[in-house]
Symmetry: C2
Subunit: 388 residues, 2 copies
């Protein structure tokens, strides 16, 4: 029996050591280590000559110091609660933290994630509350056929609220759009949409709703690696970006969602919001289809088209806005950071709204064109939606 147990133990150690494919974490190096609001980054790199940490918690790279063994460290104190992204610069090469399993792709680059918890970011954390379901589902977009020469199968992410599977209740829908270079994963991974909605709904601060996060690039059917084009390098230089193509075809998405999910298919139960290019899309889609959307959110929105500026959608913007604001969206919500490079464009756009007495809600935050702001805007915007 002892012999058998020994054999079992040997087998178990092997299983443990070799489970799936090999583990590659350096022993004894944990990184990042978070103690309250203090954070220490570490990397075991005995042969490196210089390492710094770059992240959105600091304006300039943070030097790391080497100990006698070859572990490099840098510490930060009083770090505000937030989800940050960071990389190391090791002798001129930008890398993710090898000891940190949590990375997220932002367009074409993988960043390490740092979550400093606190009251301010409680809304982004996974809590012991009922969780909605997150699905990746495909739809066909017939409206894109004349432009693409094919009927594309396109990928979207959908959040359905807790209880969706167990009831026959119908829900309002928020269409939530990503920025340039982003895709249908971005609002989930970097935007924490599922966690924010789970928490707001559990607290009674937002109505249970479906959130639809489609891919917003007319020339791409889905996120990098998820389409027949395979593992090609992600890019921001896509054709048909902000030229009216995607905006016009958006009706295919609304129809697919209304035909596939238990929605309330009415204007007052539909909202559209987005960040940067997704804000541009929200502005134009809601102006083009005012009968579809009763609420609009522009988060750090781009205002001007990139191409095809003479397209009726853009050339006749004033006419479209006039028609849209005949029955003003509630809310028409604009949020931007005071350091955002799109700030001036938003000032001009608000002046246009003011000049016409079009009502809107404005929120100005610190900071610039970052996920820190977009998560916050979503957490502020969602509770305003679908009031009775």
């Amino acid at each position: 029996m002892k012999k058998i147990l020994t054999a079992v133990c040997v087998a178990i150690s092997l299983v443990s050591a070799l489970a799936q494919q090999s583990l590659n974490q350096k022993p004894d190096v944990q990184s990042p280590v978070i103690n309250g609001n203090n954070v220490t980054f570490s990397i075991y790199a005995p042969e490196a000559r210089n390492i710094t940490v770059t992240g959105d918690f600091a304006g300039s790279p943070l030097p790391m110091a080497r100990d006698s063994v070859g572990v490099w460290s840098a510490s930060l104190t009083d770090v505000a609660p937030e989800i940050y992204i960071y990389q190391y610069d090791m002798d001129g090469v930008r890398i993710a933290d090898p000891a940190n399993a949590y990375t997220k792709r932002d367009i074409a680059t993988n960043w390490s994630m740092l979550f400093v918890p606190g009251e301010l970011t409680d809304i982004y954390a996974v809590k012991d509350v009922p969780h909605g379901t997150v699905s990746r589902i495909w739809y066909e977009s017939l409206s894109l056929e004349p432009v693409l020469g094919r009927v594309p199968k396109r990928r979207m992410s959908v959040y359905t609220p807790p209880g969706y599977e167990k009831s026959d209740v119908s829900y309002p829908v928020l269409y939530l759009l990503h920025g340039m270079g982003g895709d249908e994963e971005a609002w989930l991974t970097l935007g924490r949409t599922a966690q924010i909605l789970d928490n707001l709904i559990a607290q009674g601060k937002a109505k249970p709703m479906i959130v639809v996060m489609p891919n917003g690039n007319a020339a791409l059917d889905g996120a990098p690696g998820e389409t027949p084009s395979g593992f090609t390098p992600p890019t921001t230089r896509l054709p048909h970006t902000m030229d009216g193509t995607y905006e016009t075809a958006f009706v295919d998405i609304v129809n697919f969602v209304d035909n596939t999910y238990r929605t309330v298919p009415e204007r007052k139960s539909r909202a559209v919001a987005g960040l940067s290019m997704g804000g541009f899309h929200s502005l134009n889609i809601s102006a083009l289809y005012p009968e579809l959307f009763g609420a609009v959110g522009l988060f750090s929105a781009a205002i001007s088209p990139r191409d095809n500026v003479d397209a009726p959608l853009f050339a006749e913007r004033d006419v479209l806005l006039s028609r849209q604001f005949a029955d003003a969206p509630t809310p028409y919500w604009i949020g931007i950071g005071s350091d955002d490079f799109l700030y001036d464009d938003n000032v001009k756009f608000r002046a246009k709204l003011d000049g016409n007495n079009y009502p809107y809600t404005y929120y100005e935050s610190d900071g610039g064109h970052t996920w820190k702001n977009w998560r916050k805007y979503l957490a502020m915007f969602a509770p305003l939606l679908f009031a009775k």
Copy 2:
């Protein structure tokens, strides 16, 4: 007008440059570059002293050579079509390829992905075929309450076949279980389950089915970062691993799935399969609940329990197998690589089955305990399921 257009162009360049957060890919370095069956890896690291590539395409690290600018490269020829994972070793630090946006976490480590396409791996590629939906959904496991002291909310991944949303057809279910250290993401990310099922179904080789990929760790409610424990380091040293706890509670998963999805809730329309620890789970779950599962797949399965070897589930294995094989699962499928460290345990287990004239199907591949084999086993196993 020209001035406005210029301003627009400046704004657009800014949008393009600063879209979301900053891009960090070195200019002109693309990696990996795939030409037929030739692959070149590159990294711009002018200050590095030594760089090698380690991947499951080669037994030993591949040295890289530096050019005069500081770009290091290594090439491989005649690489067999496959999805490989690789890392660089740069002066002693293991890193993902900074120029490759495609990384997947395997337990606690991020690896870069290399997909060499070809006829042999066509089944893993995203094709222009109808796509099923992939969901992450949460269930409560009452059976775990006595062990954990709480009713856990647990996370699972579910693949529903193309057309699920548009019909009222009921489907058979394959429960597909991950290995030690893995989680409910592993079969999707590294195992390519959605692509394999989409392609097999489109080719008429597998019946449309639901695939349920639950988290298989009794002490963890979901994948790293997806639970209230936050961004803690993933580990393989979990309590209640392979001690009978998870196996016994598995009935909660089956009940949840039958109550939530349109399943055919019958033995002949249910299969359970898994890799390594998941094979161990499949062996024991199907022996404990023979009335539930009409087909079983053991992929590189662990055979011996880790703890709690005297638990009735393990101590009475022969009795349970005898009961199970009174109506033998079709198939009872065993697959393993000739270099697998669990090979001898599988030889002994097959001897036991042979000694009792219990029928099973056996497939022996090259190689060892790797995702290359598990993807292949799934592609071979799924077509055998749910024959009329």
